[in-house]
């Protein structure tokens, strides 16, 4: 402020944004005015009559009155002037606010595209001082690749006078080019010359948002196509499972059937060892048949649609144990099944779970004079935990991690026949119900298998 003359400061309030909007004339300028007034008065001293004494009291009173009136008139004019001045300043401040601090860049361009005026935002957008914009062609700030777009639209604007809008990349000093939207209209300036008024806004954010929308759409498209691919793969898998079911079992049946035919028709010509070999061929073929059946069940369990209903687990266990008792007529099997066990779940899949667990229990108690197999429920942390417990050979907890793996077996095949797929199937069914399954055991002291059925609460 101190470096500027008051006149300059007043004529360009925009140059000093720190200045108050409604600031009155400062004391300095009032003193300066007074000085000037005195100087003028001194020069025109001759205008005051010499013979003041000659004035009649009446004339003097009239002159005094006249002076008073002039003084009041001047004061009123002064007040009016100050008010006008304040209004002007307020208006300039508003102009500064609206024009210079607008959220978009404003340019006034000549027909040739030279920058005649620009607001502060425009200068900020281009990363230069406003003074550096004066008389510069706007095209200087446009990325070479986008010059054509600009040229075409500007030409169109001048030729048709119709408002134009376009998007282009602008160069910013010491920064990466940015995308801007330009809107332009034609106008006449104070001198009647044709100019262009240009509004410029940074659309980086908008483009980023648009890009994000595009990416999202692309992502969704990719998810859709992946899903389709997955469905196709699933169908292929199903076709594969079908082939396995049909095509692999048929030759096995042949191996088994024709081995038996050989035994039946030519048994008399074969010695004991030859007959044993053929028995082994048959048992291997049959074992492979079981493996295929179990694998197919495992894959069916993974794909099967779960139809949750209230399942009477007690009744299910009774059905299965009756069947097991029938299959093992020579065994003394004691089944202890808790009454009233129900849960929401898929009846067919839960039957597979109980069949596998109870079947295992029967298998691993075969050395016991009396097998005791329990199916029951405990409450643990507010959750129903079902269990199948036996007094069989148990297992070493060191290997508990292997129990639920496909083809994992803890016992020799000769001792306990099986495919090593049963517990993997159990686990899959339980997981598909949103539940957990785990086991507890000790060598020689039996095993317990626990499972929950997830959100399916006991009913």
């Amino acid at each position: 402020m101190s470096a500027m003359t008051p006149e300059h400061a007043r004529s360009n309030p925009a140059a000093d944004p720190s200045r108050g909007r409604r600031g009155s004339l400062p004391a300095d300028s009032e003193r300066a005015l007074r000085k000037r007034a005195e100087a003028v008065a001194g020069e025109s001293a001759g205008a005051i009559p010499e013979n003041l004494e000659a004035l009649s009291p009446e004339a003097a009173r009239r002159a005094l009155h006249e002076l008073r009136v002039h003084q009041i008139e001047l004061e009123m004019q002064n007040v009016e002037l100050r008010r006008t001045q304040e209004e002007l300043e307020a208006s300039r401040a508003l102009y500064f606010d609206l024009y210079d601090l607008a959220p978009v860049g404003y340019f006034t361009l000549s027909e040739r595209g030279l920058i005649l005026e620009a607001n502060l935002t425009a200068a900020q957008l281009l990363g230069v001082a406003r003074s550096a914009l004066a008389k510069q062609p706007l095209s200087r700030f446009i990325l070479p690749e986008d010059q054509d777009i600009h040229y075409r639209h500007y030409k169109q604007l001048l030729e048709t006078g119709a408002p134009q809008a376009w998007e282009l990349r602008l160069l910013r000093k010491d920064a990466a080019p940015f995308w801007a939207r330009v809107e332009a209209t034609t106008a006449l300036d104070a001198d009647g010359a044709s100019v262009c008024r240009v509004v410029m806004s940074d659309i980086t954010e908008r483009l980023r948002a648009e890009q994000e929308i595009r990416w999202n759409a692309e992502l969704e498209q990719r998810v859709r196509s992946r899903t389709a691919a997955l469905e196709a793969a699933n169908q292929e898998l199903e076709a594969f499972a079908y082939s396995v079911a049909h095509d692999l079992r048929a030759p096995l049946r042949g191996i088994d059937g024709w081995s038996l035919a050989l035994l039946e028709d030519y048994g008399a010509h074969l010695d004991t060892q030859a007959r044993e070999h053929l028995d082994r061929v048959r048992s291997e073929a049959q074992h492979m048949g079981l493996l295929i059946d179990d694998l197919l069940q495992l894959s069916r369990v993974a794909r099967a649609q779960i139809v949750p209903r209230a399942v009477d687990l007690t009744a299910l266990a009774h059905t299965i144990t009756a069947r097991l008792q029938e299959e093992h007529p020579g065994r003394l099997l004691e089944f202890v099944i808790a009454p009233g066990l129900t849960s929401a779940g898929d009846a067919h899949l839960l039957e597979i779970v109980l069949t596998n667990l109870l079947d295992n229990a029967v298998k691993f108690t075969h050395a016991r004079a009396q097998a005791r197999i329990e199916f029951g429920k405990i409450e643990q942390a507010g959750e129903s935990v079902f269990f199948v417990r036996d007094n069989g050979v148990g297992f070493d907890m060191a290997y508990v991690g292997m129990l639920f793996g496909t083809f994992q077996r803890l016992h020799k095949a000769a001792e306990f026949p099986g495919t090593g797929i049963g517990l993997a199937t159990v686990q899959r069914v339980i997981h598909r119900h949103g539940g957990r399954v785990w086991a507890d055991g000790r060598v020689g002291e039996g095993a317990s298998f626990y499972f929950t059925l997830g959100g399916s609460h006991e009913k």
């Binding site: 079908y242 079911a245 049909h246 049946r253 042949g254 059937g257 024709w258 038996l260 073929a285 048949g289």
Partner: protein, 158 residues
């Protein structure tokens, strides 16, 4: 009286042999006709192709149908059998390796009489065939001939 035919629709020669063996073991001595694909089976039943001129009123007492067949698949053969008036009451038993649930559901929807899964163990298979023979050839009352019932002139002939 000439025993009525059993029609076996099966493309695998090993399975044909095993089925024949199982039938013999069960003392089922009916004449066995083997069709090795779906089209041949339809030709036999409807007197077309290689079986042109065959007396098609001579229906098999039992048809054993495999699911996976060359040319015309098993389910399609079943559908055609059920669609034709002359064969639509004929007993058809599916004898297959497939345990696919959807196959089973479709087969029952198409009106199959039984769906039997062929076990790998031949002894189990032989038992199944024996029971099958006992049931369909001895215990079961054959359905009235669809053709005769539907023929409007039948009462006059009688």
């Amino acid at each position: 009286m000439k025993s009525r035919t059993i029609l076996l629709i099966e493309d695998n020669p090993s399975d044909v042999g095993l089925t024949q063996r199982a039938l013999q073991k069960a003392h089922i001595l009916n004449n066995l006709v083997v069709a090795s694909d779906g089209q041949e089976a339809l030709d036999y039943l409807f007197g077309t192709g290689g079986y042109a001129g065959r007396d098609i009123s001579d229906l098999p007492i039992l048809t054993l149908l495999d699911m996976k067949l060359p040319k015309v698949p098993g389910l399609e053969v079943l559908r055609r059998i059920r669609a034709e008036a002359c064969t639509h009451r004929m007993p058809v038993v599916i004898l297959t390796s497939s345990k696919q649930e959807q196959d089973m559901a479709v087969a029952y929807d198409l009106g199959v009489n039984s769906y039997i899964h062929k076990p790998v163990d031949f002894q189990q298979f032989a038992e199944a065939v024996q029971q099958l023979g006992l049931y369909w050839l001895v215990l079961n009352q054959s359905p009235p001939r669809a053709v005769e019932r539907m023929n409007p002139g039948w009462s006059k002939i009688a």
